[in-house]
């Protein structure tokens, strides 16, 4: 799922209202971790998917 202006606005609205309370912040994090890491077919890892030379071979297949 990619961010769109509408989604971003909705997220910011949540963060500036409910998100100010720790419980809602933790809820959002749990949902994000579940959707983007635990249940994702390809887990999202911020510090990953950098270029490595072996990928040149993969793209040439």
């Amino acid at each position: 799922m990619y961010m769109t202006p509408l989604r971003m606005a909705a997220l910011r609205l949540y963060l500036t209202t409910f998100g100010r309370f720790a419980w809602f912040g933790r809820l959002l994090k749990r949902i994000a971790v579940r959707r983007m890491i635990r249940k994702a077919s390809e887990p999202h890892v911020p510090s990953a998917r950098f270029f490595t030379p072996d990928q040149l071979k993969e793209s040439g297949k």
Binding site: A22, G25, L28, P43, V45, P46, S47, F50, F51, T52
Partner: protein, 350 residues
Amino acid sequence: MGVFQVGVFQVGSFQVGRVQVGRFPGGNGILPVKKTKVFCMLLPEAQSFYLRQGLAIAERVLGLGDRDPASPTFGCFDRYYWHYKALDFPNARAQEIGHYLAVLYANCFEGNRYAGEPMILKWAEAAVRFWSQIQNRDGSFNEWWPGERSFCATSFSTYAAVETVRILGLTPPMQAFDRAAEWLCKNNNPAVGNQVAASALALRAVADLLGEEFPARKAEERVRGLLDQQDPAGFFPEYGGGDVGYQSLTVSLLAAYRTKAPGEAIASALRKAVEFLDRRLCEDGTFDYKACSRQTQFFYLSGLVRMREMNLLLRHWNGCRAGTALLPSWMDDRYCFQLGTDYLIAGLED
């Protein structure tokens, strides 16, 4: 190009003989990996390479920071916040650059024009000051969204801030350290081993700097919890599985912790952790990151250098020679300096 030399080769703590040492290509990938069974490496040469790679990102990293003392965001190293204004809050992890600058400032080595430079000291100090300014009221910090209260950002940035203060002998922002330590004592994220290790190290560092006992006890507890979670295969959990990149980071963090609080339990856990890396890291320094739980491609070195794990370092070194090992400069603005700092520490380790 370098001439072949003769040196002593070491495996773990055992010296196994005199071997020929190959060329030192600078990691530009122009030489093939030496595919012989004879391992060739001298640690000082590798450390010189680590230092050069750590230093290579210095100008880029300095450019990420607001260096104008008159600016309200002086000391902020999240360029996307203070300069581009593309974000509405600063990422606390960017302030870890203070640690990177402190290491550069405090250590004179070949090519390091920043050692002893007063402006570097000033910017590192400003990084810590800005870090304390963006702290949430409960002591936590944000990385990805406002009000996030990130365990990861609080752990890593607190440790970096304490190290910056310690290395440079700065006046510590007592309230910020106290509040961060208090928040870390109350919160944990046992599913992610590297973050737990970072939180323990941060708590221990705060305890040592401020002379407080409680955070040190909590750090011990946290390390014990992490060691209990270690899989029989040697890995620390990263969302349920082992991950070579994060394992190398956790080893670096625990090895740093061990220098502050030695113990047989942690030494034994580190040995098992290294055995996991030993099974995953190929002779050419690569590893199947796609089979890892987090698929990270980086490899942290300072723990292995501290532990003198020459066998693993040699394999990584082969990757550097072949240009396949991921270096700090290959990473983006958000992540290059953490690995860069680790490379500097690995290069400076006695």
